[in-house]
Every structure is written in structure tokens, then in C-alpha cells.
């Protein structure tokens, strides 16, 4: 899809508020996987021996809680991005 705002001919600096919001939602959709990755990488720095080891049940709850959060976040973002994703494709046949 050609988006006029991406054309060098008309570089728009200021968008109306709604457009601006939608772009930030897109940004959020881009960084969401990074957040999920960081949260799931955290168990790597948990102490493995000695004091302060994390119990298995806690670890399990943590990982699944992050999972639920990620699902909810993606659900919310996918709803907000509905218009963008449903833009008509160029499949002419």
C-alpha cells in the first residue's frame, strides 16, 4: 500500500492526534516482543544455587503470568491496529 505520508514528496511532520496515536500503537506493537523476551530472559539471572533460589512453583507462576500478560497485551494491540491490518490488499486475481 502506498501511504502518502511515506512519500518523499510530502513529508508530513505533524499529524492529527488520531494518526499520531495510531503510530504510537504501531510502535508499541513493534516493541512488545522485546518486552516479552526480556521478561522471559529474566529467569536466566535467577540464582541457581545457595540462598535466594526461586522455587519451581514460583517460577512456573511467573512464566505463566508473563505469558498471560503478553497475550492480553497482544490482544489489546491487535484490536487497536484493526484498521491497519485490514487494509485492502493488492491481490488482483
Amino acid at each position: 500500500m502506498k501511504r502518502t505520508t511515506d512519500r518523499p514528496g510530502s513529508p508530513t511532520v505533524f499529524h492529527e492526534r488520531r494518526t499520531y496515536r495510531r503510530r504510537r500503537v504501531m510502535d508499541a506493537a513493534r516493541v512488545a516482543p522485546g518486552l516479552a523476551l526480556i521478561l522471559w530472559a529474566l529467569p536466566m539471572v535467577w540464582p541457581q544455587t545457595g540462598e535466594g533460589t526461586v522455587s519451581s512453583a514460583t517460577a512456573l507462576i511467573y512464566i505463566f503470568a508473563v505469558w498471560a500478560g503478553v497475550i492480553l497485551l497482544t490482544w489489546g494491540l491487535s484490536r487497536l491496529l484493526a484498521d491497519e491490518a485490514d487494509e485492502p490488499s493488492d491481490d488482483e486475481s
Binding site: M1, K2, R3, D6, R7, P8, G9, M26, A29, R30, A32, P33, A36, L37, W40, A41, P43, M44, W46, Q48, T53, V54, S55, S56, A57, T58, A59, L60, I61, I63, F64, W67, A68, V70, I71, L72, T74, W75, L77, S78, L81, A82, A85, D86, S89, D90, D91, S93
Partner: protein, 895 residues
Amino acid sequence: MSTLNLLVAVCTAYVFFLFFVAFAADRLALQGKRAWLRSPLIYTLSLSIYCTAWTFYGAVGSAARNGFEYLTIYLGPTLVMVSWWWLLRKLIRIGRTQKITSIADLISSRYGKSSLLAAGVTILAVIGTTPYIALQLQSVTLSFSVFAAQSDGLAAQDQAQVALWLSLGLALFTVLFGTRNLDAKERHDGVVMAIAVEAVVKLVALLSVGIFVVWGVSGGLTEALHRIDASEFGEWHTDRSRWAGLIFLSAAAFLCLPRTFQVLVVENDDESHLRTASWAFPLYLCLISLFVVPIAVVGLDIMPEGSNPDLFVLTVPLALGENGLAMLSFLGGFSSATSMVIVAAIALSTMVSNHIVMPIWLHLSPSGASVSGDVRAAVLMARRISIVAVVMLGYLYFRMSSGGAALASIGLVAFCGLAQVLPAMLGGMFWRGATRLGAFAGLTAGFVIWLYTLYLPSFGVGTILPMSIIDNGLFGWAWLKPDALFGITGLDQLMHALLWSMLFNVVCFVSVSLVTFPSPLERLQAAQFVNIFDHSTSARSWSGGTAQTEDLMVMAQRILGAGEAQALFLRHARRQGARGNLPAPTPDFLEALERELGSSVGAATAHAMVGQITGGMAISVEDLMAVADETAQMLEYSARLKEQSQELSRTALELRNANQKLTRLSIQKDAFLSQISHELRTPMTSIRAFSEILRDTDQMTPAEQSRYASIIHDEAQRLTRLLDDLLDLSVVENGQVNLNLRDGTLRDALDRAVSSAGIGEDGVLLDIDRDPSREGIVLHTDLDRLSQVFINLIANARKYCDAKAPRLVIRVMQEADRVVIDFQDNGSGIAPDAVDMIFEKFARVSDQKAGGAGLGLAICRQVMTRLGGSVDYLPAARGATFRVVLPYRTAMAAQ
């Protein structure tokens, strides 16, 4: 009825049910009721093809052995799905726009429709997937033997029988529903529907076992968690490198496995389905893995020492007497295994037939694509044979490995092998500089290292790789030991292989891409892939003209089927506005045709087939321009900006000058008005005064009377002269003057001017320096007017020259096409800021030396313009220099 018989009966019934579902879905699709067959929910469920029997049974086994590591296998795909916005959306758009049929097709299409790359990826996929299919067969036979153990056990011979019948059944199902049509979209409604049903079955089965274990056996959630803490799991223990590496590996595999690529990209019907799947599939994965740990913990608790933890999902309910639940669990595992084999076989057969069989067939058939005969049937047959071959290869692998423990680890080994495609794939999607040779180098390096460090050793020590190599390294070089490349030991074998293969893969891919130069078609495809959202048109690659539409028609009919091909040709003929049913072979049409063919036989083959008929692989100028378009647009835009700003500053400068001029003109006009009124008033005052004296004085001598009268007369004459000048100017300006053209020499005109203007009223003598020898040019012009101009210039010199001994040099130069007369005095010249004003009306250099009304030079310029010449001030010269130019034409005419 024994459990085993019941099992066989249920299993058969389930298989028939699946056949029915697939059949009904295909029928519905044929009737055009695809809307609900292709809902986001079905799409999401079909993605669960990722969860095979290996994950169904193996996850619990892995949890029992390695703790939480099993989670990574689900976290990776979750991350990929969450990255839908920037990754999967682009991938699917590329897949849809370019009509990609498989992962090999994607790579080949991106890198200039290279057949070699496609074949390479296909071979990699076959090598990586065959053991995986064997693993599925093993899991089904194992689960059968679990039930058989309840009654009378299952002999090894029977296990092989089960595996054989299973593979035959799966091959039959896949051939039936996977190759029903070779249609444009390469989508299989029946298969996808069956997979979605199986996805539900495996989820329900695993959840049921989990709920039974948590609430039925452990007695609630809290107790289950306590039990976990009390079990061998105890505290958090995970190999950190494996945790990170496996998340990466599973994410890569989710993108690169042929079967997941098939459902994720190829079978995708609508891009918006991805939006739902982005959260729904992570939810599915979350639910699938939710009860794995509780099941493993209970299994470790209640099952006897040494029992296979891979089968806890099945054995725990059986041990607790829940036969119905065990049956459901068996069906779950069965579903996981069968759906994987079916889709993997479809994906692999598409790749094998499109990228290996068809190119060879094209190469072997003497007259190429235009030979008569039904290619359509040949392609379908190739695909069917490929399906049977792939499944049977899996069976053979299963028999040869005799279901040993080696199979258990093959899942991750396969993941690692197929992950080698990832750099070329992502590089191709996001980096325009990635080249075919780079991709080939990266894939080869990764593949070889994977083969050497992981795949071959996975068959067991001493099977394929001899002990000597494992112990001492290849050729006896210790740094080439398959489990410790470059002498780095201590790494887990899988992580070791992953690290080195991916490292060499990426380094080779990037560095070779950097130093090689892509072909035009590659660059075209690169631009198409990377900027897929900017221009969702496909690559243009044919500049036809020599192509014979009839030949294309024959070929298209054999691949697409007669009806569809005719409809396609007719549609394009209508679009082109052509008469008859055959369109002209324009690049647009060839491109569309190639895409249609590509969706049946793959981009590289379609490209080659169209190429054989059109007889060229040329890329039209427009295509290259389209690639350059982006750069050109930027350049053009910046050039335009620059031009505009230059124009703006030019305009501003002009405006400023104009404004200054206007301001000065306004001041001059005021000055002129006061001057003209002064000039008019002075003689008028004299005239009035002297006429009053004449009227009122009675005694007046005649001499006095005569003197006064002559004063009045002189003053009146002065007035008249002034008014004449004004009138003259307006006449000349309006172009109403009649030129009195006659012949005469320039010398005469100058003589007249000098004699009338050389000596002024104030008696100041102007020394005039002339060169009469050069003045003998015969002119055909209005000599009176010309003299008038000369008079004016000489009078000006006399009036304004500020030298002590005023001197005027008059030089005549005869040039090729004009005569130039310079009037140069020895004064200080005209002040630079006054130069552009002197030819304006009423302009006078200074008020003090006010002599005339300031109309002289304005009249001169108008006169010269009328005579076809010009009069200008030369600012660079010494003293005030005026240059009169007469066109030589005027002079020549006189000769």
C-alpha cells in the same frame, strides 16, 4: 473386547471421521462456502501443526528429565507471533503477493528465482524433516504398545506393522486431500479443516489429563504447586545457555519449518486472520504447556522407577484406571502425529516436485515447456509420488533407527537444521543488499556445520561418523572434533552446533553478500520483498514480444487446466481491450501468467517455463526504472527543493531591486515635479514681470522696450523648448514618431551635433577629440533623430563633466554587424548607484547642475530603440562613457 481392539476400533473411527471432515470441507469449498472454513479461528488452530507428538508426549518427558526447559519450545513461537506486526505481516504479504508456495520458493524467489537455492533448501528440508516424520511414527507405535502391554503386549514385528499401516494411511489421506487440485492458491481446505479439528482434540486431551492430574490426583491447584516444590523439581535449575538458545531455536524453527510455513504463509487466506492469531495462538501454546509440569510431577511420583516419562500423558491415566481419559489422550497424541505428517508431506512434496522434479523434467524434455502433453497431470503425479516417498522415507528411517533413543532428540536436531534458512529469509525480507551468492554461502556453511556437529553424531557414536573422527577430529585435527570445534569444549552439544552453524551462516551470508553483485532480477526482487508495503506489485521480468501467445496458452492449459487457463487469458484479453480471446504478450500479462503458474509449480520453474517460450530473460527498462524509482524520487525532490529555493531568493532579490528602484523613482518624480514647476515658473515669472513693466510703464525708451520684449521672447522660447521635449518624449515613447529615413554619413551627423552642442550658452568650451577618418560610414537612417541623440550626449558631457579642462572623446568602431560610437569624457563619471536611473524619465544626476528637465537620455534611449540600436552607459570605463550602437544592417542598407 480387549483394550487393544477397542483402541484399533476407536482409532479407525477417528480416522474415518477425519476423512469425512476433510471431504466435507472440500465439498463446501467447492460450493463457494469458504467464509466459515477460513475463519481466523481455523487459521489459529491450524498453526498448532507446530505442536507435534514430540511436544504432546515429549514435553512431559522433557519436563521430567530437564525441568522447565520444555517451556522454551513454546516461548519461541509465542515471541514470533507477538512480533506479528513487523515480521509476520510482512512475511505473509510477501507470500501472498509473490504467490509463494513453500519456504524454498520464498528463498528462491527472493534471490532472483534461483533454482539452485530452491533445490538446496528443499534438500535441507527433506533431510531435516524425514527423521521428524519417523519420530511421529515412533510415538504412535509407542502409544499403541502401551495399550498393548495392558493385554498381551506388542511384538516388535507388530510395531513395524502398525507403523507401516499408519504411514500408508497417512500417505493415502495426504494424496487424497493434498493433491486434489493444483489450484492457483495452493490451499487445501479439507486438510486445514482436519488439522483444526485435530488441534482441538490434542488441546482437549492434554487439558483433560492436566485437569485430572491437578484436581483429581493432587487435589487442587495449591496442593499441585506444593507437590511441584516437594518433587525433584524443587528449585529453579536451568542451563542458562540452553534456555536462551532453545528460545531462539524454537522461534527460528517456527518460521522455517516447512509445515509451519505451509499453514502460516501458504494456507493463509486473509491477512487479517493474523491479527487474531497473534494473541490466540500464544494462548493455545500457553494452554498446551500449562499442565505439563503437574503431569510430569505426578508421573514421577506414581509411576514405577524406570518407566518412560515420554509416555506419562498416557500411562498416568491408565495406571489410575481412567481408560476413557487414556483413550482421549491417545487420540490427542495420534492427532498430533498424523497432522504433522500430513502437512509436512504436503509441504515437502510441493518443494520436491516444484524445485527438484520439475526443473529436471524441464531439462530432460527435449523441446521444453512447449511440448505437448499434460504437464498438469505430470505435476500432480510428481507431487503424489513425492508425498508417498516422503512418508515412506520417514518409515524407512524409523525402521532403520529401530525406534531407538536417538529419535528422542531428533526434534531439536531438525529444528537446528532448518533454522539455517533463517538468516537468508530474514536477510531477504529486511536487507536489500542480500545476494543470491551470499544466501548460498550462508546456507552451505550452516548446513555443513550442522551436518557435521549435530546431525551425523545424532545417529549415535560410530554409526556414520567413525569413532576416530569423534575422538580425534576430522583428518586427525583436534580443532575439528565435532563436539568441540576450535577446541571450545564444555558447551552442550546442541548449543555448540547451534552457535557455530549460525555464526558461520550469518558471517558467510553477510560478508559474501557485501562483496558480490546481484543480478538485475535479484535486485528487482530485493526491492519488491523489502519494500513490500510500498509497492505490492510483483516483480516485472518479461519484456515479451517474441513470445507466442498460443504457446503460452498451450503451456498454461497443461498446468492450470483448460478452463482456468482460458478464463485467465480471456480476462487479460478483455483488460487489454484485445479482440478475440488471446491477449498480447505484454510484460504485464506475462508477469501475471508467471505468477499464476508459480502458484502451481513454484516461482523458479514458472520463470524458467515462461522464459523458454518467450525466449528471453530480459528485464525491461521500466522495471529498472521502478527499482531506481525510489532513489530517483529522492534526488528529484531535493533538486526541486533546491531549485525552488534558488528561484525564491532570485525573486526576492529582484523584488528588492524593484522596490529600491520604485522608491528612487518616486523621489525623482517628486524632484521632477518641483523642478518642472520651477523650470516653468522661472520663465513665466520673467515673462509676467517684464510684460507688466511694458504694460504699466509709460515712459520707456524703445531700446528698453526692445530689450524687455526680447527677454520675454527668449523666456517664451525656453518654455516652448521644455514643452517640446516633453511632447517629443511622449511621442517617441508611444511609437507614433515617423522616421525620416535617408542616406548620409555618420560624419555629417556628428558634425551637426558637435556644432550645435559643442559650445554652450555659458560659453564653456568642450574639447572634442574625434577621428574623422573612421567616421565615413554611410548610414541609412533618420539622421535628424540620430543627431538629436548625439547632441544630447555631447550636451550632457559639457554640462556634467567635472574636469578642469573638459574633454570628450568620440570614437567610432565598425564591427561585423554593428557600428559602435563611444562618447567618453574625462570627468569622474556617474555614481554607481545612479547608473541604473539615468535613462529614466526626469532623472538627473544632481540637482545643482540642473540644466534640463531630465528627459534627454530617456528620449535618446527611446529614439535609439526606434532606430533598432541602443544607447548604454558603460560603468567600467574611465569617466562617463556612453555607447551608442547602431545595427550594421542600417549601415549596409545605405551602401
